[in-house]
């Protein structure tokens, strides 16, 4: 069962990373315009040929 010594912290660390990521997206306002974000990827006028 010694494997737990690093597996459990790893699992927790991964979970915490996910949580931190979510809190960051929330803080940077990424949920404020969900419909707009879906549409903003469509126009491709930023591509210069």
């Amino acid at each position: 069962m010694n494997v737990l010594i690093y597996l459990v912290p790893m699992a927790l660390l991964l979970g915490l990373t996910g949580l931190a990521g979510f809190l960051w997206t929330l803080k940077s306002g990424q949920y404020e315009d969900l419909d707009g974000a879906a549409l903003r990827i469509l126009p491709d006028d930023d591509i210069t040929t």
């Binding site: 949920y31 315009d33 969900l34 419909d35």
Partner: protein, 765 residues
């Protein structure tokens, strides 16, 4: 006269000469619009940033103050085809947005903790039936505690705070049993872990919080969505006033920015922006939105005017009054305060359930402990059994039963053009047995319409086209009939009399009877036309009297019949004259009606009816209806209602049809029956599960399965509402028909109605 637009009340100044404004933009519908608006604006000199929030249809613009101003930005937007309206966020909206963020954070923490604790719990459950050593199990339990305790302390805040608030006022709400359940489950688990026992309930406690937070968040998200929509509509409806400054120059500014003592110019046909006294000018004022009275009253210098009245043919200069004692608005405010206090005593269904539920559950737990002690069990075992009862009955499903249905019902109503103002409106709408209607603007359309039945079409078209050149309210109503939207060239308006122009080489006149050469007695006020105002048109030797009257909403008869068929009593309470109210009530087959009522009398009638045990739904739009709306058990307002009135209605409805009233009642009744079903389901679940808990047979695994099972069950039952409430085709077609009617006119009827009709068209998926 020069006219400048002053939007400074909407602009936020930043440091270093920057400024910011939020605009509600009308007509945004696709990905292209985002680019068009943002690129169009950022090309302008001085613009720092423009960002469109597509979900909310709002545009945030930042600019350098010395290079460009807000009025230019709005003009530039109009130039690329979008009507933008300055938008002042409401306090409630800002609060809810902050609340939503806090809830999302709690939800994220609870979600993270639930996943990780479950990871450990499932290992323990499988270990318990195989070869897990006691040391490993204890380690896993301690790890669970390490995750669950701080997470619960953080994510449980919304419940703990609300429970504490309720207890302090010596009341019970749903959050009290939730808090008790969570705290006891966590406490027991820590104790069990410390004593190396096999069972801990960390996962149950944290999962419970996670499910409940999901419910709360969805409820709030739905409310925010409707509030954003309503906020945009309000800013599109917001009216502008013309203020005269010291030099006599005209400044166009939002009504909200007017201060007492300001002098405002009210042109013919405009809405009076604020209460005040007339300084100069004379005119007739249509106070139908204020008092329900449809006959215009003549006013001159010194007369008092109320916000919302529509000016007739003369220009007025009005001194804005401070809200003083004795004005109508003051009286309305005073009545409102009283009515709101009375209403806060109604108890929500969920809290009523909690009041019954909590004592029963807590008594069962206590009896369980006593029973085990009497039966000779140890003190520890008796307490564990009692806490297991609390955990298994912790009202996860009960707390989700009602919000889940509310979310679905609010969505259904939103799609049929009913915007809920407050969360528990659905419950209250469902139990009404009497509907009280206001007449003017509610049963009838807010704007008067031409009764064209007996008039030659060609003649009417000519009159309507001539009416385009006049600003008189009656002419505006007539002009709406014009198919050709180009005014006749060289039409001359004679203030207070009418318009004339040359049509096909002959003079045509539109206006008062005298203006058109009719003697006073010649206008035929037949008994049928007593409630109509008349306008006369003369051309080529033919003279025609065009009656213009408040017309019923197109589906008023059908809707009132359908409401009656559903067992509701219908009553009309109007501030208008009996001669105007009687025929309307008769046409709709309503036997009970009262006319000429003051705001206080409307309230008195409603209180009398409520004292008889009736539950009243008040539907009204006038300023005089606001106290009655607040006093009634539930209330609805058309979106064209006075601002104060809208603020006190439980819900607003869009469009020119009355169908949303019926729809609101139908959906609310179905929602209530689903709520009751959900409550029954949870009671059944509890009666099945409690015996196991009392017997001490509930393991953490059973608790987890039972809890998620019941939560999913009530959520699915709530979603059934979408199937159980098929969209009545009449409603969808109502809205698109309203939108089509707008299109067929060619141009939006007026600035006020145009955005509303488009907004209602947007609602139809």
């Amino acid at each position: 006269m020069a006219e400048t637009l002053d939007l400074s009340s909407f602009v936020e100044r930043g440091d270093a000469g920057t400024a910011h404004i939020t605009l509600a933009v009308d007509g945004v519908g696709c990905a292209g619009c985002i680019r068009k608006i943002e690129n169009g604006l950022t090309k302008l000199p001085g613009i720092i940033d423009a960002r469109l929030n597509f979900t909310q249809r709002r545009l945030a613009v930042d600019w350098r103050d010395n290079e460009i101003d807000a009025a230019t930005i709005i003009k530039a937007l109009a130039g690329i085809g979008y009507q933008a309206h300055p938008f002042a966020p409401e306090r409630a909206e800002a609060d809810e947005s902050k609340q939503a963020k806090a809830l999302l954070k709690c939800l994220a923490v609870a979600g993270f903790a639930a996943m990780n604790v479950m990871l450990l719990s499932i290992s323990v459950w499988s270990g318990n039936v195989s070869d897990m050593t006691q040391e490993t199990r204890d380690l896993f339990h301690w790890l669970s505690a390490l995750i669950a305790l701080p997470a619960a302390a953080y994510a449980g805040q919304p419940f703990f705070v609300s429970a504490w608030r309720a207890l302090r006022t010596r009341q019970l709400n749903m959050d009290v049993p939730i808090t008790v359940g969570v705290v006891l489950a966590l406490g027991l688990s820590v104790d069990e872990t410390a004593t190396h026992a096999a069972h801990a309930y960390f996962d149950s406690a944290i999962m419970l919080l996670f499910f409940l937070l999901c419910g709360r968040y969805l409820d709030l998200a739905m409310r925010r969505k409707t509030r954003v929509f309503a906020g945009n509509l309000a800013s599109m409806q917001a009216e502008f006033a013309h203020r005269l400054d010291a030099k006599g120059e005209l400044i166009r500014l939002p009504v909200a920015a007017l201060r007492p003592g300001d002098r405002v110019l009210v042109r013919p046909g405009e809405v009076i922006p604020a209460d005040g006294a007339i300084l100069s000018g004379s005119s007739e004022i249509d106070d139908s939105l204020v008092t329900g009275e449809t006959i215009p009253r003549a006013v001159g210098a010194g007369a008092t005017v109320y916000a919302g009245g529509i000016n007739g043919a003369g220009a007025l200069t009005v001194a804005v009054a401070a809200a003083g004692a004795g004005t109508l608005v003051d009286e309305v405010e005073r009545l409102l305060q009283k009515a709101i206090e009375a209403k806060s005593r109604t108890v929500r269904l969920a809290d009523r359930a909690a009041r019954l539920y909590a004592p029963v559950v807590h008594a069962t737990a206590a009896l369980t402990a006593i029973g085990w002690l009497v039966a000779g069990a140890s003190f520890h075992d008796a307490i564990v059994a009692a806490i297991a009862v609390l955990i298994i009955t912790c009202p996860c499903a009960l707390a989700l039963a009602i919000p889940a249905v509310q979310v679905v019902a609010a969505g259904q109503l939103f799609r049929s053009g009913v915007i809920l103002n407050c969360g528990d409106a659905v419950e209250r709408l469902a139990v009404v047995d009497t509907v009280v209607f206001d007449k003017t603007g509610t049963l009838t359309l807010p704007d008067p319409a031409v009764d064209a039945a007996a008039i030659d079409t060609e003649l009417l078209q000519r009159a309507a086209r001539l009416a385009l050149s006049s600003r008189h309210p009656l002419a505006t109503a007539l002009a709406r009939r014009a198919r050709e939207r180009v005014p006749y060239p060289r039409a001359v308006e004679e203030p207070g009399q009418g318009v004339r122009a040359l049509i096909d080489g002959e003079e045509a006149r539109l206006g008062s009877a005298i203006f058109c050469g009719l003697a006073d007695g010649d206008t035929p006020p037949t008994p049928r036309d007593r409630e109509a105002s008349c306008i006369v048109f003369k051309h080529g030797g033919r003279t025609v009297v065009i009656p213009i009257r408040q017309s019923l909403r197109p589906d008023a008869v059908a809707v009132t019949q359908a409401l009656k068929a559903r067992g509701l009593n219908l009553i009309v309470l109007s501030g208008d004259r009996p001669e105007a109210v009687g025929p309307v009530a008769a046409r709709l087959g309503m036997r009970e009606w009262l006319a000429g009522l003051m705001p206080a009398e409307k309230i008195a009638v409603i209180e009398l009816l409520q004292a008889q045990g009736r539950r009243i739904l008040m539907v009204g739009d006038g300023l005089n209806d606001a106290p009655a709306l607040a006093a009634a058990h539930a209330s609805l307002s058309p979106i064209t209602a006075a601002h104060l009135t809208q603020a006190h209605a439980d819900a607003l409805f869009l469009g020119e049809h009355l169908a949303p009233v019926l729809r609101a009642v139908v959906v609310a009744r179905q929602a209530r029956s689903l709520m009751r079903q959900n409550l029954v389901l949870t009671v059944i679940y509890n009666t099945l599960a409690v015996p196991f808990a009392v017997a001490g047979l509930v393991t953490p695994l059973i608790a987890a399965v039972a809890m998620s099972g019941s939560s999913i069950l009530v959520t699915l039952n709530a979603l059934r509402a979408r199937l159980a409430m098929p969209r009545q085709p009449i409603i969808a077609s109502t809205l698109s028909a309203a939108a089509k009617a707008q299109q067929s006119v060619g141009e939006p009827v007026s600035q006020k109605i145009g955005p509303l009709a488009r907004a209602s068209a947007e609602l139809v998926p």
